[in-house]
Symmetry: C2
């Protein structure tokens, strides 16, 4: 049995803020939602062109997994989009009567608020719903059991903070920073290595779980090919968060050592990096990699403060764990102020969401 071995692969949990309060992920995931919406048309086209509907035979159940689903509601829109696209494919081929049943596996870390997710399930859904707790960097499903994997705004989370960057005795110690974009080469290399290892684990696990001909649709927040880490917008935003924390350390609100030992386990890959990982794995063909139109294109319409809240919803649990809940309001007030003072980063910084469609090669 591989299950015990492969699911025990150690990785840390970074749940989004649960519940539905003003700082919750539910109320602060419009940006992520934007990525889902702009992907819909592309997704319809990809499913229409690339999906072999025979893969749901002989059971005639079509199994969809949404990895890193958080607590909704974005996951429900994504699943609904996919389901409609698959149904449409059957209808266009005149196979209405053979439309399969759908089972949807909502996956996220074990500390995700599944209670909230389940309570928010759309009452008129056309699928059987299941929650699957566990890190998607390990095995979470049986062999050959999933027909379509979807994951949106999740693959930029690493499985853990690279060990070296929090080790005082290591040249990659990331003193005074909470991310890698303004750090030494050693720190950057440690993050890059962690990403490479994680993506290898991700693709290996999925290569076992996805049926031959099955699709993987990933929406990934990343950086354009050729853009250095230091010019990547989300990295620049994280660096400002680090600056805010260091400022609070200087004021004595938080301990500097706590900032030194705190790192955000996010990595913004380029499409080229993903391509290299997929080729290294060898089990998937790349059907498409395409930048999505930016949800931020209409720049003025998303206020920097809103982006600040998004960051808070995403990083809330991590920061609380390290520094305590009491610093959150002050930190994010300061952070939003810094964002507003530096509108230039939204011009000089480059960030993309890109869609990757991978197809499981025959075994």
């Amino acid at each position: 049995m591989a299950a015990a071995e492969e699911t025990s692969k150690s990785s840390e949990a970074f749940p989004m803020k649960g519940g539905d309060g003003p700082n919750s992920y539910t109320k602060n995931s419009i940006y992520q939602r934007g990525a889902v919406d702009v992907a819909k048309q592309l997704l319809d086209k990809e499913i229409a062109e690339k999906l072999d509907i025979e893969i749901s035979l002989p059971s005639n159940t079509f199994n969809i997994a949404d990895l890193g689903c958080s607590v909704g509601p974005n996951t429900f829109s994504s699943v609904e989009n996919i389901l409609e696209a698959v149904q449409l494919k059957y209808q266009c081929q005149g196979l209405d009567s053979q439309i399969p049943e759908f089972q949807v596996f909502f996956n996220d870390h074990i500390l995700n608020d599944f209670n909230m997710l389940f309570k928010s399930l759309p009452p008129n859904r056309q699928y059987y719903a299941a929650g699957v707790p566990g890190s998607f960097y390990g095995r979470i499903f049986p062999n050959n059991s999933i027909h379509l994997v979807h994951s949106s705004s999740s693959n930029h989370w690493l499985s853990r903070v690279p060990k070296e960057v929090v080790d005082k005795n290591c040249p990659a110690w990331n003193k005074g920073e909470i991310h890698y974009s303004n750090s030494t080469n050693e720190v950057v290399k440690a993050y890059e290595a962690q990403y490479a290892e994680d993506m290898e684990c991700f693709l290996h696990a999925r290569s076992r779980e996805v049926v031959s001909g099955g699709l993987m649709v990933l929406i990934i927040p990343g950086r354009p090919n050729g853009t250095p880490h230091s010019k990547t917008l989300p990295n620049m935003m994280l660096q400002l968060l680090g600056t805010s924390l260091m400022e609070m350390a200087r004021k004595g609100v938080v301990l500097e050592e706590k900032v030194d030992s705190f790192n955000i386990p996010m990595y913004y890959m380029s499409p080229q990096e993903l391509e290299a990982a997929v080729e290294g794995n060898g089990c998937f063909s790349i059907e498409k990699i395409e930048n999505l139109p930016s949800a931020l294109a209409d720049g003025a319409s998303i206020e920097t403060r809103v982006l600040g809240y998004h960051m808070r919803a995403a990083a809330d649990a991590l920061i609380k764990q390290q520094f305590g809940e009491e610093i959150l309001d002050e930190l994010f007030d300061l952070y939003c102020k810094k964002l507003e003072e530096k509108p230039s980063i939204f011009e000089s910084g480059k960030g993309i969401n890109f869609l990757a469609v991978l197809k499981r090669k025959p075994n």
Copy 2:
């Protein structure tokens, strides 16, 4: 798609008390655990004799569903027992190398504490785990997707309180009582009809979900054939709970109308009643129906107060919803006192746990 239609079947949720506090189900399910333990040997034998191992082909995944799993830990022992019995069957046939992967679906009402369940999952489990929220009186899985259904101490929960018994204008209005064992014939008939309808729905849903040759193993708290409802031990215990509530109504602690409109949706079926339902459904053969040795056999060793706590863990949410949390301590103190004053009910009242093994006939 049947999913939307069948899962939307209205039914109410009666979650066990979540968390792991002193009154939680986790800490107060020893009685239910006893039923699981005494069933183990019987279960091993049944699986060895009755399971066709070919049913897990061609996917070579064996899907187990535990219905009404609550929050653990009993569900984990049950699943472990089943998994070992299935593995043993393969080994005894010299098919060690063909042992399938296991996926376990933990099902309970949508208000069950799945977060707690997921956090308690055994770290070295040999299966992929998923949580499935929803009433097992409706469809919760795709067609032909489950190889073995297990359910312990769950089928005595009805999907709802029969409507008539809370309707003042109905001859079946159950004034002054919270259950049916001391009530008019009309009330008893309303409960019997609800049971019959629910069991029909249960068997119909499972007949679609369980593969041909798949097994259903049910451990059901019930009454011996021929025993009237009024002489059934759990009914007598529930009646005492009703008496306690009425006493509090007389003292003015709770409103009498609230007691009148409160009914416990539990029904203790006899093996004969189950047989009739299975025959009526027609899709399952009865492989075995057998009384389990009583977990209460060593009568003196389980104190009445412990039984009182068990009742509290099970009925906590229902009572809180109707009367408010503040009455719980007083109510269960009074109830335990009444149980201690009436040791005779443990002699005159009859209660059984019985094991039913059903096999899905070929389509």
